[in-house]
């Protein structure tokens, strides 16, 4: 079952990339997806059941919308900091505690933090994230934890856990 899930994902990716319905193309896609499945099925998709839960996709769509909005907002913020003659930056590395349990959820959280301008994940050690922040607004751990990951964490819990 795990292999079939991976095969379907790989095949859909192939069809998206090649985007033609010729027979030769579909056969090549089946072989390519089969090869990938044979090589990687042991390392990928430890919990494939989650792929068949439609509710998770619903939360994923909401997550993407919120994420894109945050990205645009924060991008203007960084553009302002770069363009302003005084360069109002106050960088620092802060430690943020996350309550996410699974690895994949942590990876997506770290990636989201890196993509929102102003913050880059430097390292993840167990459940602590070290984040380089271009403008450290406050020293209060509760405040910046909420500010950086509060928006994403609850939704990611619903999607991946």
């Amino acid at each position: 079952m795990k292999q079939i899930t991976l095969f379907i994902i790989m095949f859909l990716l192939w069809m998206g990339f090649s985007f033609s319905l010729e027979v030769a193309n579909i056969i090549a896609g089946i072989f390519a997806a089969l090869l990938t499945t044979i090589i990687f099925s042991n390392r990928f998709l430890t919990s494939w059941q989650k792929f068949y839960n439609p509710l998770r996709y619903f939360w994923l769509i909401i997550y993407i919308v919120i994420f894109v909005w945050e990205c645009i907002k924060a991008n203007f913020d960084v553009a302002y900091r770069v363009l302003s003659p005084k360069m109002p930056i106050k960088p620092g590395i802060v430690k943020v505690h996350s309550s996410l349990k699974t690895d994949i959820a942590r990876v997506i959280l770290a990636n989201s933090i890196t993509m929102t301008p102003g913050t880059i994940t430097v390292d993840i050690i167990d459940s602590d994230l070290y984040i380089h922040w271009i403008y450290v607004k406050s020293d209060d751990p509760e405040y910046y934890t909420k500010k950086i990951i509060g928006r994403f964490e609850t939704l990611l819990k619903r999607i991946f856990e």
């Binding site: 990716l13 991008n75 960084v78 770069v82 960088p91 880059i120 430097v122 450290v136």
Partner: protein, 107 residues
Amino acid sequence: MNSISIILYIVGAAFDLFGCLGLLRLPDVYNRLQSATKSVTLGTCSILLGLFIQYGFSATGIKALIAIPLLFFTSTVAAHALIRGSYKAGIDLWDKTVVDHYKEQNK
């Protein structure tokens, strides 16, 4: 449709430009990575989205759409690897950096 995609191209190019300006102006490697990876990725994503709107569900449009998540994952992982690598290699933070909680981990 065409005008929307042209607006997206212009916005994307502008953010790419801001990213490059940040690369020149900001003081140290960590801050430069901030502007280099993100503004540029978002700018490029905007250009790809414009491409998708212009071509619709054709071979070109779908490829542009798939390139967005690929770019997202590769550039975030690359930024993370670069910033962690430069910290481990011992490059100092800028003098006006306010906090550094990561130092305790690296003693």
